[in-house]
C-alpha cells in the first residue's frame, strides 16, 4: 500500500478473513426479532433456517429437509404452501427424488413454471391488455457495434446446435476508400405480421400466436423445409442433428425450455432434430417477464423489446420515428422487427 493512501476505487479493508466476517456481522439482524414481525411461528422459522444452512453445507439432504418440515409447513402456511411449486423439486435436475416429491404437500414444478405462474396471476386482473400484446423489437443500427454478443447470448440461451443460429449479424460495407461505411445489421426472426413461412407450411406446424410471435410446433413439423425456402430473411434453420460434441465441458447438460417446454437432454433422432427452427423472441423468457437474451445482453443497448400495440411503449415510439424501417418492406411481410437508420 502506498504512503499516499488507498488506491482509488479499492476499498480499504483489513487483510484477514475475520475482518470480512465482522463486516458481514454488522449488517446481520437477529432472526428472532425479524420473524417476530411476521404472523408466522418464530421457532419454526429459526429451525427451518438452521437446517437450511445444513442443506447448503451438505450435512443434510434437501430430501430429508423437506420430508421433515412438510407437515409443519403445510400446517403453518396453509394454501400458500400447498399451491406454490417447491423450487427444490426441479424437473430436470431435482435434488428431491420423485417419490418423495409426490409425498410432499406442496405443488411440484420448475423455477420457470413458478415464474410463469406468477406472471399469469399478475395478469388475471388485466386480461384486456393481454389480448392486445404484439411483441416487437427495435434495433438501433447507430448503436450496434457488431460485437455479435447477441448471437452468442442467443446460442447460450436457446442451446442451438451447430449450423443453427437464430440470430446473426450481417456486415454490410459500402463505398470505396476513403468514403467507406460499415453497417451491422443484426437479424433475428422478423416475426412478420404476414409470414410467408406460415402460408406455405403443409401441416400448420408453424403459426402466428396472438402475441405476434411466429411459433414452431416441433411435434408436428415434418421437416419438409418449405418454410425455409419461403422465408425472405433466411431466418429459418434446419436441425440436422449435429452437436458440439466434446467442444466444451458439460455439453448438453443444460437445456433450453423453448416455447416453455423442457425437452430434457438432446437425444439423437428426437425433435427438434429433423425439424426447422428459428428465433421466437425467447418466448419462454417473455412468458416469465424477461427480455429476450439478445436484448438483455446487448452491450450498446441497441435493442429494444416491447409491446408494439401499446402507444406508450418505447418500441411503439421508436418504430414510428422517421428513422424506422423494416427489412424488405416491399415483400409485404410487415415485420415486427424495426430498425433505426
Amino acid at each position: 500500500m502506498s504512503a499516499d493512501g488507498p488506491m482509488p476505487g479499492v476499498p480499504e479493508t483489513g487483510s484477514d478473513a475475520e475482518t470480512y466476517d465482522a463486516m458481514v456481522d454488522v449488517e446481520a439482524t437477529d432472526p428472532r426479532d425479524e420473524l417476530a414481525k411476521t404472523t408466522y411461528r418464530t421457532d419454526l422459522g429459526v429451525k427451518m433456517a438452521e437446517d437450511a444452512r445444513k442443506v447448503s453445507n451438505g450435512e443434510l439432504s434437501s430430501e430429508a429437509y423437506w420430508t421433515k418440515y412438510d407437515a409443519e409447513a403445510a400446517a403453518e402456511f396453509g394454501d400458500a404452501y400447498r399451491e406454490t411449486p417447491n423450487p427444490a423439486v426441479d424437473c430436470a435436475e431435482g435434488t428431491i427424488g420423485d417419490e418423495t416429491a409426490e409425498s410432499l404437500g406442496c405443488s411440484v414444478g420448475t423455477m420457470a413454471s413458478i415464474a410463469e405462474g406468477l406472471e399469469e396471476s399478475d395478469r388475471k386482473g388485466e386480461t384486456d391488455d393481454e389480448d392486445d400484446t404484439r411483441w416487437g423489437m427495435v434495433i438501433d443500427l447507430q448503436k450496434c457495434i457488431g460485437c455479435e454478443s447477441c448471437t452468442v447470448a442467443c446460442k447460450a440461451e436457446n442451446r442451438t446446435p451447430p449450423g443453427v443460429s437464430y440470430n446473426v449479424v450481417l456486415e454490410r460495407e459500402e463505398g470505396e476508400f476513403p468514403n467507406v461505411t460499415r453497417t451491422n445489421v443484426p437479424r433475428p426472426c422478423m416475426q412478420c405480421e404476414n409470414p410467408p413461412c406460415v402460408q406455405v407450411c403443409p401441416v400448420s406446424a408453424t403459426y402466428k400466436m396472438d402475441n405476434g410471435v411466429v411459433n414452431i410446433d416441433y411435434d408436428r413439423c415434418i421437416g419438409c423445409r418449405y418454410c425455409m425456402v419461403a422465408c425472405p430473411y433466411d431466418a429459418r434453420y434446419f436441425d440436422f442433428g449435429e452437436n458440439y460434441d466434446g467442444e466444451f465441458t458439460e455439453e448438453g447438460a443444460v437445456t433450453s425450455p423453448e416455447y416453455g417446454m423442457d425437452r430434457g437432454p438432446r437425444e439423437d433422432g428426437e425433435s427438434p432434430v429433423g425439424n426447422v427452427r428459428k428465433c421466437n423472441f425467447c418466448h419462454h423468457r417473455l412468458e416469465r417477464g424477461e427480455e429476450p437474451a439478445c436484448v438483455e445482453t446487448c452491450v450498446g443497448d441497441a435493442r429494444y423489446m416491447g409491446n408494439l400495440e401499446d402507444t406508450d411503449s418505447e418500441v411503439n415510439e421508436l418504430a414510428s420515428s422517421s428513422r424506422a424501417f423494416q427489412l424488405k418492406e416491399k415483400e409485404g411481410t410487415d415485420p415486427n422487427v424495426y430498425y433505426l437508420k
Binding site: 402460408q199 407450411c201 403443409p202 401441416v203 406446424a205 419438409c224 418449405y226 434446419f238 440436422f240 442433428g241
Partner: protein, 419 residues
C-alpha cells in the same frame, strides 16, 4: 397397319437378357440401399444440404418424376380422350409409366423430409393456404384416377388373360378384373366411357394440380426471385409433356424391339413430331423466362441466371438441358424420314429423358444459392455420395416395378388391329 402381339405380356425376351436385367436392377438397388442406410442412421446429415440450400437432388428428382408422370398421362389422353388415331397401342404403357413415376416421386418426397415417420401429418393437419398441402392430396387423387383408367383400359384383356393363362399372370389378371368379367360389347363400351370420363377429369388434375401445382409450389415462394414468375408453372407443364412423351416413345421402341413386335412407323412419326413440337414450345418459353429475368436487372434474377449459365454447374445447363434436352433431339427429329426410324426416335427420346433431369436440377438448386438477405454468405451445393446412391436406388426400384408390370400385366393390347 396391323400389329400382332404374340403373347399376353410384353415380354422382355426370356433368357439371359432378362436375367441380366433383373440382376442389374437388384444390384443397383443393393448399392442404393447403402445410401438408404446412411439416410436412416445419420438423418439428413448424410446429405450436402444446409440451411442455406435446404432443397437438393431429391427434390429435383421428385419434380422430375412428377413431370414424367404428368407427361406420360397426357400422352395417354391423346388416345382415350382426344381419340388421336393409332395412339391406342401406347395408352396403357403411358398410364402405367405415369403410375410408377408417381410412386418414385413420392418416395423421393418421403426420403427428403426431416421426419419421415410423420408423413401422415399432412393428412391429419391440412393447411388450406399451403400449396404443398393441396399438392399431396392432388397426387393421391391423381394416382387413383390413373389406376382407374388403367383398369378400364385393360379390363377386357385382363378377363381374357385370366381365362387362358396359368400361374401368377392368370391369377393376378383374375384378381385385377375386380370381378367384372363380362366382355359383351355393352360392357366394353361402358369401359371406354368411363375411361374417357376419368381421362377428362385427369387432364385438369394433371395440368393444373399435379404438375402446374408443383411448379406453383416454387412460383409462390416470392422470396426466391428466380422462381417467382407466373410463367414458371406453365414451363413445368411443357417440360413435363416433353419428358413424358420422350419416355413413352423410347419405351415403345425398346419394348417392341425386345419382343420382336412390328413397329408402327406412322405412330412413331406422330409421336416424334409431337415431341419435336413440344420441345420447341418448351424451349421458347424458357428463353422468354430467361430474357425477362435478365432484362429486369433485378439482382436476384440476374445472379440466379448467371449462376446457372456460368457457375460451377454450367454444364448441367448448356450440355444437359440445352444440348441433350433441346439441340440433340431437334437435330435428330428435324427430317421426316428420320422421324420414322425407330433407332433415331429412341435416341432422341433417351436424350430428352436425361436432358430434363438437368432442367429440374437447374430449377431447384441455383435459386437457393444466392442468399435472400444481402450480407449472408453464398450457398453451395452438390449432391453427396449417399444422396446419389439412394437416388439411383430409388430409380432402380421404379424401373423394377415397371419391368414386373410389363411382365404381368397386359399393357400391350391383345391381338388388336390398329389402323
Amino acid at each position: 397397319m396391323s400389329t400382332k402381339t404374340h403373347t399376353l405380356t410384353g415380354r422382355l425376351g426370356r433368357g439371359r437378357l432378362r436375367i441380366a436385367w433383373y440382376v442389374l436392377l437388384i444390384g443397383v438397388m443393393a448399392v442404393g440401399s447403402y445410401g438408404g442406410y446412411l439416410r436412416l442412421t445419420e438423418g439428413l446429415q448424410s446429405t450436402n444440404l444446409s440451411s442455406s440450400v435446404p432443397w437438393g437432388a431429391w427434390i429435383a428428382f421428385y419434380i422430375y418424376f412428377v413431370g414424367l408422370s404428368a407427361g406420360a398421362f397426357l400422352v395417354s389422353t391423346l388416345s382415350n380422350v382426344f381419340e388421336v388415331e393409332g395412339m391406342h397401342e401406347i395408352e396403357r404403357e403411358a398410364l402405367f409409366v405415369a403410375i410408377v413415376s408417381m410412386i418414385v416421386a413420392l418416395t423421393f418426397v418421403l426420403i427428403d423430409i426431416g421426419r419421415m415417420e410423420r408423413l401422415w401429418h399432412v393428412f391429419a393437419w391440412r393447411q388450406p393456404l399451403s400449396v404443398l398441402s393441396w399438392e399431396v392430396h392432388a397426387y393421391l387423387l391423381y394416382i387413383g384416377v390413373l389406376a382407374g383408367e388403367l383398369y378400364f383400359s385393360m379390363r377386357r384383356d385382363l378377363v381374357e388373360t385370366s381365362d387362358d393363362a396359368d400361374g401368377l399372370t392368370g391369377r393376378l389378371a383374375g384378381l385385377l378384373t375386380l370381378g367384372r368379367t363380362e366382355t359383351s360389347d355393352d360392357a366394353i363400351e361402358t369401359d371406354r366411357t368411363w375411361l374417357k370420363r376419368l381421362g377428362i377429369l385427369g387432364i385438369p388434375l394433371a395440368i393444373i394440380f399435379v404438375h402446374g401445382g408443383t411448379g406453383n409450389l416454387f412460383a409462390v415462394a416470392a422470396a426466391r426471385e428466380y422462381w417467382f414468375s407466373a410463367l414458371f408453372p406453365v414451363i413445368f407443364i411443357t417440360s413435363a409433356v416433353v419428358s413424358g412423351m420422350a419416355l413413352v416413345a423410347l419405351l415403345y421402341v425398346v419394348r417392341a424391339r425386345l419382343s420382336h413386335r412390328a413397329l408402327d412407323p406412322a405412330l412413331l412419326e406422330r409421336m416424334a413430331t409431337l415431341l419435336a413440337g413440344f420441345i420447341a414450345l418448351d424451349a421458347s418459353l424458357k428463353v422468354l423466362e430467361a430474357f425477362i429475368g435478365l432484362y429486369s436487372l433485378h439482382p436476384g434474377e440476374v445472379q440466379a441466371w448467371l449462376t446457372i449459365m456460368t457457375g460451377e454447374m454450367w454444364w448441367s445447363f448448356w450440355i444437359v438441358m440445352v444440348g441433350m434436352g433441346w439441340i440433340v433431339p431437334l437435330v435428330l427429329l428435324h427430317r421426316s424420314e428420320w422421324r420414322r426410324k425407330p433407332t433415331v426416335v429412341a435416341a432422341a427420346g433417351a436424350s430428352v429423358v436425361l436432358g430434363v433431369v438437368g432442367t429440374r436440377f437447374n430449377i431447384v438448386v441455383p435459386a437457393q444459392l444466392e442468399p435472400a438477405l444481402e450480407g449472408l454468405s453464398m450457398g453451395y451445393y452438390v449432391p453427396s455420395t449417399p444422396e446419389w446412391l439412394l437416388s439411383i436406388g430409388v430409380i432402380a426400384f421404379g424401373v423394377l416395378l415397371y419391368t414386373i408390370g410389363t411382365e404381368l400385366l397386359p399393357l400391350v393390347p391383345r391381338g388388336e388391329d390398329h389402323d
